[in-house]
């Protein structure tokens, strides 16, 4: 098992290198640079800046410098947030994004599987149709519509919740962003759970359990364990996406996570900041896919890694 984990992590290194390389050169292909402002800087100052950040060197040397820094854990200075290194920015933003995304993820798993199971047990009846309609709405309404609408209702009209801000992570500040972030995931998980649950409930071994006269509650729980396998494989990428911050949610609710850095960094050609977020997200995806595979082995005895 340990060997498997190590092998997977080692195997991810080439993948990460490819991602870093492609991202590095892609952002450089984009026209402009970090210091191209609306009012052009005097040539002398520009030259000094480029020299200071070693951006005047040939691209291949910059690339190897960056890789060298990466190996020692140095993500470089931000070109736009001048007083910060990328490392510092991520250190501040990442815990916030993880808290937000993690809570949303847990909420989505709990509510999503419960709703999916509920619907599957009432296939094609009113309860099922109701849940699936709501799920469809959850998937189709984009969060940049859902967020303002919920803000309008709960913050402006009812005045129960704050309209934005992180409030040092106070619970009341988290409710709206967490719920908005979780809603489409709840919908997707509910649909996935329903689909695979309906299939498992028709399986021969569920018929055996019923023939043995097991209580319906036990039959359902046993079936759910098998039905969760497809859901689990969806959770890997979903978790990585949620935990590394949502641009829209963080912007609308004014939350200091790392999601916005990605967009701002890209728009400002803040090369190192973009690279830093890319590396972070890639790492999360690798780790979460590994976790999903390990979770698979826990759920399904046929899967063994040794």
């Amino acid at each position: 098992m340990l060997r498997y984990v190590l092998r997977r992590l080692l195997g991810a290194l080439p993948t990460l290198l490819v991602i870093v390389t492609v991202a590095f050169f892609l952002i450089r292909v984009a026209p402009g640079g970090p210091f191209n402002l609306e009012r052009p800087l005097p040539p002398q100052i520009m030259e000094n800046l480029l020299a200071y950040y070693q951006l005047d060197q040939p691209l291949w040397r910059q690339y190897f410098n960056y890789i060298g820094g990466l190996l020692t854990g140095d993500l470089g200075p931000s070109y736009v947030y001048r007083d910060f290194t990328v490392d510092q920015l991520l250190r501040q933003g990442l815990p916030v994004s993880i808290q937000l995304g993690g809570t949303a993820l847990l909420l989505a798993i709990g509510v999503g599987t419960a709703l999916g199971t509920f619907a599957a047990l009432r296939q094609n009846r009113a309860g099922d149709v109701g849940v699936m309609t709501v799920a469809m709405v959850g998937i189709t309404i984009p969060n940049f519509v859902m967020a303002p609408v919920l803000t309008l209702i709960f913050a402006i009209w009812l005045g129960w919740l704050p309209a934005g801000g992180w409030g040092e992570g106070a619970l009341i500040n988290k409710l709206l962003p967490v719920f908005t972030l979780a809603l489409p995931q709840i919908a997707v998980i509910a649909r996935l759970t329903r689909g695979s649950m309906i299939e498992v409930l028709r399986a021969d071994h569920v018929r055996t359990a019923r023939a043995n006269g097991l209580p319906p509650r036990v039959v359902t729980l046993r079936a759910l364990r098998g039905a969760l396998l497809p859901v689990v494989s969806y959770l890997g990428p979903a978790a990585a996406a949620l935990l590394t911050g949502s641009v829209v949610i963080e912007t609308i609710f004014g939350i200091p996570g790392i999601g916005r850095y990605f967009v701002q960094g890209a728009l400002n050609r803040d090369y190192t900041l973009v690279m830093g977020t890319v590396v972070t997200i890639a790492l999360f995806i690798v780790v979460f896919n590994l976790l999903v595979d390990l979770l698979y082995a826990v759920l399904d005895p046929k899967v063994r890694y040794d």
Partner: protein
């Protein structure tokens, strides 16, 4: 003997489907006395399983049962699942056909067998363990203690069926319903499971209801039999009477459904068509995560065989014996060592490109008439597809003419050309698959269990069709089957395989009448014991 323990009266089962109502069971009456064994026999679609699923309250959600099912005097129809659970798994138990899928793949054996004890008797898991151990020993699972923590995928098919039986017997039921309990198993395992059920019945005194399509089993185990067709009971009575003096035409048909006759031998001096020497197929197991392990399975080990024109060689063996792999290797459908020659031409070193023109003459018909026809093509397209590849010069009209000709040969109506495979029964699909092979006018046809998925009466028709076609077109067959009765009716010579090796080969008659090897004898004993033609002949 007091009244019957299980009494079915005027039972109807109806399914609501998008195409309208399907009336699957039409007014069935049936009784089971205490300690008695009855069999409900019929072909697929006769409604035999639906009766017992109604008894157990396990009908599919679009199905509804009306009428009366009384168990020990209590009406079961209309009971809620909760109320039914006073009987299910306690006094009424059921085992199913598919031992591979009928156990929960995610739960340990101990948990699954213990479930009926825990949920009905309120035993603790620890207390249940002792009883589970007893049950495992009762059903003859070796090293029962080590098996407690096993998962279903770690057991063989026969062992899984034993586990199913152990589970069903946990609470000592009064009635055990067995729905095709041995159909998915090899013959030697089949015989063991039937023997086990008979022993257990004598020890525990329960009644058994067998649902089966296999008259051999009925003859072998049951006291009384109900013959079903089209949702109705055609005839019922004591097994001996029914077998010796069947009154209903359908019963007679079923009893004569065993493939009959033998194949006429090929003309002497027929040319050698396909010859294989020392064929060997090795599958390497990718094991270990860093290093490659050298573990390998010899699926086919040093097998030689030769087929003359017009000859049929039957290859028999149980699952995993390598018989299908051998067939595929003969056609170079998978890589193999050894020499394979077609009409004296060595196929071994030809690449797939040079092999392609030869493929026209070397055709295959597979077992699964459901999986081997593309559901998105019409019958005409399926049958004509080979012509597009091998005789690309043909015009559409000429191609259609050839397709019609092939369909006629397999006794299907030409108007079926525009239909899709799902509209056909298993037997009809197998005819389509045969037409697909025939349309190219092959010289050799590999028949890989072509009748195994079919009912006996249909099997007989397909066997007769294949024999007639062979005669007409001087076809050469390699006939792979686990079904000895079918092989006897089809083959000139028989090759018995076990674990990739040839155990014995020779003329069909000699193999069946004077087998030399123990394994062949065991195989024949297990299978022929269950074949009704023999049994009926010796019954008087």
């Amino acid at each position: 003997m007091t009244g019957p323990i299980l009494e079915v009266h005027d039972l109807h089962v109806r399914f609501q489907t998008p195409d309208g109502e399907v009336h699957a069971v039409r007014g069935v009456d049936l009784e089971v006395a205490k300690g008695e064994t009855i069999a409900v026999v019929g072909e697929s679609g006769s409604g035999k399983s639906q009766i017992m699923l109604s008894v157990m309250g396990l009908l599919a959600s679009n199905g509804r049962a009306t009428g009366s099912v009384r168990f020990d005097g209590n009406e079961l129809i209309g009971l809620s699942p909760k109320a039914l659970n006073r009987y299910r798994g306690v006094r009424l138990a059921m085992i199913f056909q598919e031992p591979m899928t009928s156990l929960d793949p995610l739960q340990r054996i101990e948990t699954q067998i213990g479930d009926p004890l825990v949920f009905h008797q309120g035993m603790s898991r620890a207390a249940a363990r002792t009883r589970v151990l007893e049950l495992l020993e009762l059903v003859g699972i070796p090293r029962a203690k080590d098996r407690l923590t096993a998962y279903p995928h770690e057991l063989s098919g026969g062992q899984r069926q034993r586990v199913m039986i152990a589970m069903a017997l946990a609470n000592r039921p009064d009635v055990l319903i067995a729905d095709e309990p041995t159909t998915a198993l090899d013959v030697t395992i089949q015989a063991q499971i039937l023997q086990l059920l008979r022993d257990l019945q004598q020890r525990l005194g329960m009644a058994i209801v067998f649902i089966t399509h296999d008259l051999g089993i009925v003859r072998h185990v049951a006291d009384r039999v109900y013959v079903m067709q089209g949702g109705e009971v055609r005839e019922h009575g004591r097994v001996r009477e029914i077998f010796e003096h069947p009154r209903h035409a359908y019963t007679k048909l079923l009893l004569s459904a065993e493939p009959e006759g033998t194949k006429r031998p090929p003309p002497p001096g027929a040319p050698m068509l396909l010859e294989a020497k020392q064929v060997e197929v090795v599958f390497e197991l990718p094991k270990g995560l860093l290093g490659r392990s050298k573990e390998a399975i010899r699926a086919v080990d040093d097998v030689s065989l030769s087929l003359r024109e017009g000859q049929t060689v039957g290859v028999v063996g149980e699952s995993g014996s390598g018989k299908s792999t051998l067939g595929r290797a003969m056609l170079r459908l998978l890589p193999a060592a050894g020499r394979i020659a077609y009409l004296g031409r060595d196929l071994t070193d030809l690449d797939q490109e040079t092999l392609r023109p030869l493929r026209r003459e070397l055709q295959v018909v597979f077992q699964d008439p459901f999986g081997s026809l593309s559901p998105r093509l019409t019958v005409g397209e399926i049958v004509g597809e080979g012509l597009r590849v091998h005789e690309a010069a043909l015009g559409a009209a000429e191609r259609d003419r050839r397709v019609v000709e092939a369909l006629n040969e397999v006794q299907l109506e030409p108007r079926f050309m525009r239909r899709f495979p799902h509209e056909f029964s298993g037997g009809q699909r197998q005819r389509i698959a045969i037409a697909r092979a025939l349309v190219l006018r092959p010289r050799f046809v590999l028949l890989d269990e072509p009748t195994s998925a079919l009912d006996r009466t249909i099997q007989k028709q397909i066997v007769e069709l294949l024999r007639a076609l062979q005669q007409q077109h001087k076809l050469t067959y390699l006939f792979i089957s686990h079904d000895l009765a079918v092989v006897r009716a089809m083959a000139d010579t028989v090759m018995v395989m076990q674990n990739g090796k040839v155990v014995e080969q020779g003329p069909t008659q000699r193999i069946f009448e004077e087998p030399q090897e123990d394994y062949t004898r065991a195989l024949l004993a297990a299978a022929l014991d269950l074949i009704p033609v023999n049994a009926a002949a010796t019954a008087s």
